[in-house]
Each structure stands twice: as C-alpha cells, then as structure tokens.
Amino acid sequence: MTIARMTTSRRRLLGTAAALPVLGLAAPAIAQSGPLKVGMITTLSGPGAALGNDIRDGFNLVVKNAGGRLGGVPVEVVVADDALRPENGRAIAERMVRRERIQVLTGIVFSNVMLAAAPVILPAATYISANAGPSQLAGEGCNANYFNAAWQNDNLHEAVGQYVTQKGLRRAFLIAPNYPAGRDALTGFKRFFKGEVVSETYTRLDQLDYAAELAAVRAAAPDAVYIFLPGGLGINFIKQYAAAGLRARTPLFGPGFSFDQDVLPAVGDDALGCFNSSQWALDLPLPANRQFVDTFEAEYKRLPSLYASQGYDVALLIGSAIAATRGRVGDRAAFAAAVKKADFQSVRGSFKFGNNNHPIQNIYMREVVKDAQGRVVNRTIATAFEAHQDAYAAQCKLPA
C-alpha cells in the first residue's frame, strides 16, 4: 500500500478548501514535482468493488516489482474510489486533472463512469483504459488521447458468437439485462452467430431470481444458452442454472466477465463445464504470463482475474511509454505516440492498437474446470479469433 498511498495531505487541504472557499484556506495549486503521478479512478466500494480492487492490485504489482518505478521513473499512484457513481468519477477526474495536474490516468471499471469522466480528462490528459470500452469512444467519438488496453465492450461477446457457430450449435437462447450494455452484448454475439436465436430475453438489472427465465429455457430446449449477466447477477444465474438441472442438458456460454477469478470462487462447482471468452487466461503458456500469475499469487494470496491482468498490462504499457519519452508525459502528442506503439510484453501475448486506439488481439475460449489443487479455474480450449479488431474502428477518423 505504500506505493498506492493517497496524496493525503494535499487532498485534505482540497476538501477543507472546498468547504471554506474564501476563508483563505484554499491551498495554492501545487506544481508537479517529486515522483511522476499516475491517476487511478476506480471502483472500490459497492457491488463492483472486486473489479476495481483487482485492477488496482494488478497495476500496483508492476510498480512494486520495479521498486516504485514505471519505465525507470519513480511514480506515485494516486488512487480514488468512484463508488460506481458517474458523478463521483467526474468530480475525481476534475480534481486530478485540473488541480493535481495529473497527465496520465487509468483505472475506470464501468462504462457509465468512463463516459462521465471522459469529457473532463481527454482535453487535458492521456487516458488508458484498463477495462471500460464503450462504443461511444471507439467509433466516431474516438480520441487521440484515449486508449483502451483491454477490449472494446463487444469483443468478448462476438468471440462466443463465433465459437458457438463454429461448434455447429444451431439454436441459441440469449439472456442479458435490459440496459444498453446488455443489448450491445447480444448485438455483439449475434454479429458472429449464424444460427437461429430462439429467444432474446431481457431481465431486470436488480433481478435476483431467474426461475421464470430458466423455465422458459427448459421449455425451449435450445442447443446453447448465452448470458451476459455481470457480477452478482451472473453468480445468481449460474447457481440457479445448475440447481435447475440444466447444466447437464444445455451448455452455458458467456463472456469472461461472468466466469473469472472474481466470481468463480463464489460459484464453485456450479460453474464447471461452462464456456467463456477472454483475451487472457490463467494458463496461457507465455513467460510474461507465468511471471504475472506467480508474482500476483505470491503477493495477494489469490489467483488473478482478467481484470488484474488488464491492470498489470496497463502498468506495463504506461511504463513503456514513460521510458520512450523519458518521463516527459507532458508532451501529449509524443506520449500518445509512444503508447500507441504498444512496445511491451503483454501477458496475453500478441497485442497492438488499431487506428481507433483499441486492441487488435486474439480472443480465447475457456472452459471452467477444476485444477490439480481442486480450485475452480479456467482452462484455455480454443482460439475464437486471431488478431480481432472491433466493429467500430472503421468509423474512427484517427490514422492507423
């Protein structure tokens, strides 16, 4: 935690200043000095906290392994909790960019927070997303100072659509929450699925019980069920799917979000045999990945999730760009150009940016299995896409 220590004294002053703006307590803006600051706005409280926690831990691991440096330059990671509230995310972004003059930011988990913070961040700083990849920032709205080092939101869904088609499964039953990301997810799946969609069911975002939907699945008897139910919703569904005896009858597919190390320990055996997609996997046989997984487990006493891998990769990426620009992150054009080269050893293997600053990368299919120690983990079984690019890149005017 020493590295991620928040800049307490300074922000205390800010808080006081905000309360008593004209009593002469407002501290003067402090020029950038000392270690290079990297802003991390992420979700550390509420139901999405596990995701932000993993991104932060993955990021900090890189900094720690390098003795508090990124790209050879001493850094200070300024962490702030957005509590999954877009308004908070924006306020934090404003403080980091306008007051602390931080020029490199990352960490936002959820698209809604990202969209709220982007207008504040992008005119003044470079943002490298470790998770959220809304289509609004991938197509026409792409930005030279916005990078996504994880995925565009649709990618993992597209991969499953592709894989289900390859497997010759004809009839699919789709379930997602009734909100934009849910509809986008199913659109992404259908973009590459060539069979028949038996039903496209939209559920409530606060839905606890899926018995009604499970009964409908049983009645429809499809070849495959595809769910996009993030976080707790997915846990609820998978448990109930298994209890309804459907796991043995119809294979369950989903994006990696519902089947990674943040949720698998909570679902346990009920998730065994489910298939999911990810740009990364625990068992990818790459030296960089082995080192990541081993050091992460040694440091935090748990297995990393894909979110942790994304935080780790973003730290490596930022480090590579800091090294290339010798720490002069203020020259935004040069810094962005250095980021775009993606000159780092990604734990997922081959990785490069497309014209819209979103990844061109492989997407793998994984199956949930038990490992030698009896832990519920993912095993890579196939490559759904090689060097896959998102569907919005063509609408982006940025040069390749």
Partner: protein
Amino acid sequence: MTATLFVEQTLNGLQFGVMLFLMAAGLTLIFGIMDVINLAHGSLYMAGAFVGATITARTGSFTLGVLAGAAAGALIALILELTIIRRLYARDHLDQVLATYALILTFNEGVKVLWGPAPIFLSAPAALAGTIEVLPGIPYPTYRLVVIAAGIGAALFLGWLIGRTRAGMLIRAGTTNRETVQALGVDVGLLFALVFAVGGALAGLAGVMAGPILAVQVGMGEQILILAFVVVVVGGLGSVRGAMAGALLVGLTDTWARALLPTLLRGLLPPASADQVAANLGSVAVYLLMAVVLAVRPQGLFPRHA
C-alpha cells in the same frame, strides 16, 4: 403458455414470495410494535448470509451454517436494539430512517473490511442439489422446495408465537395499543428486544437460505429490502398475516409478469418491441401493484386498526 410451465412458474413465485416473507415478517413486527422503521434490516440479512457461508465453509455443515446465520441475525439485532435503536423509539420516523441509513453504510463497509470486496461462496449440500419431479414432467430444484418448506415453517412458528404464547399475546396487544401493555406492568424493554431479535433471526435465516440461490456479496441486503418494504406496505403495517399475503402477491406478480408478459405482448406487437415493452413492464409490475393497492386501500390489505 403450457400448463406445466404455469405450474412451474407458480412454484417459482411462491418460493420467491416465501423468501420475501422471511424479510418482511421481521420488518412488519418491528413497525407494528415499536413503530420503528429499520432500514438496516437488510444488513441483518447480509450478516446472516456472510456468517452462514463462513460457518458452512469451516464446518462443512450447511445445517450449522443456517443456524449460525439465524443466530448472527438475532445477535446483531439484539446488540443494535440495546445500543442504538432503543434511543430512537421516542424519535420521529425521519431520525429513524437516517440513523438506520447510517447503519447500512457502516455495515456494508464493515463486511467489506472483514470479508473482502469479492462475493463469497455458499452452496446447498449435495443432497439438496438436484431436482425432484413434483408433477409428472415437471422437475423442480429440490433446494427451492426446501426454501418453501422453511418459509412455511417460519410462518407457522410465528403464528404459534403470536397466537399461542404470552409473549405473543403482548405482541398482539402491543401492535394495537402500546399503552395498555405498558399499563399491564410488562417489561416493555424486554419485549421490544425480543421482537427485534426474532425479526433479526428471520432476516438472518432469509440471508443464509438465499445464499445457495443468490450471490453472497456486499449490498445484497438493499436489493431485497426495498421489495420487502413493498410487501409490508401492501400487506399492511404490523400484520404478520398481511406480510404473508403481501409477500405471496408480490412474489407471484413479479414472476408471472416476467413469465407471461413477453408471450402476451408478442401477440400484440412486433417481437423486438414486444420484448422491450415486456421487460419494462416487468420491472415496474411490483411497484404498480403497490400503487394500485394503496390507491384503493391506503392502509394496506390487512390494516392493524381494523
């Protein structure tokens, strides 16, 4: 909609309703007798689930986990009553809402500190994991049947407690006329603490019973709390019978709305917009039900001053 599907969905609605009843029974008793609105009731549910999951993991016995969850709910409720809630009886509802809102913040963060931010594991024992054929051609998850049975058991216990025991007599008297009970020379403080502990035990039980079906995570209490409020308001404050009726009505409305609306609407609208409209109507069906009930009967279905 086939007959089998209808039976299955009705069972689903019942099971969901029973779950809500366990939450709502405590809430409604606490309103009825102490006239206290306790937002932190959902925190007791969450505490029950976390403690139950931990004990189940440590001992390997789900039964012990269930008992521990209920006990944790009762114990925490008791401590809350003795230290904080007791000071709120003389206050207006506003202070109660705020104090218990502050408790929610505290509990959620406390659980995160103790158990970490990620959801934790709890599953039903292997014996309850499969399905049972309730009617020919209708397999139904065994565990859900157990939940229904446990809920009915709890309802019968409450019925006995309130209808057949001296404490229950005082509780009944308390909901309609608190002064009388005080005049009888009863230790009201003890009675209130008891009621709070019973409510807490039911919430803890609901939490741990929900564990194998739902995610055990921070914030789980608020999700069900608001629905439990709807149940209490629909049923009538202070009435356990009302809570049962309200819970079943809400559970069935919610399930049927999700199961039937898409089919119904597809007959009327193009498929894409039918799904959309159905999903939207499904999300507000329960609240619409409440609005209708209150527009007709502002005191709920079983008003206590009947």
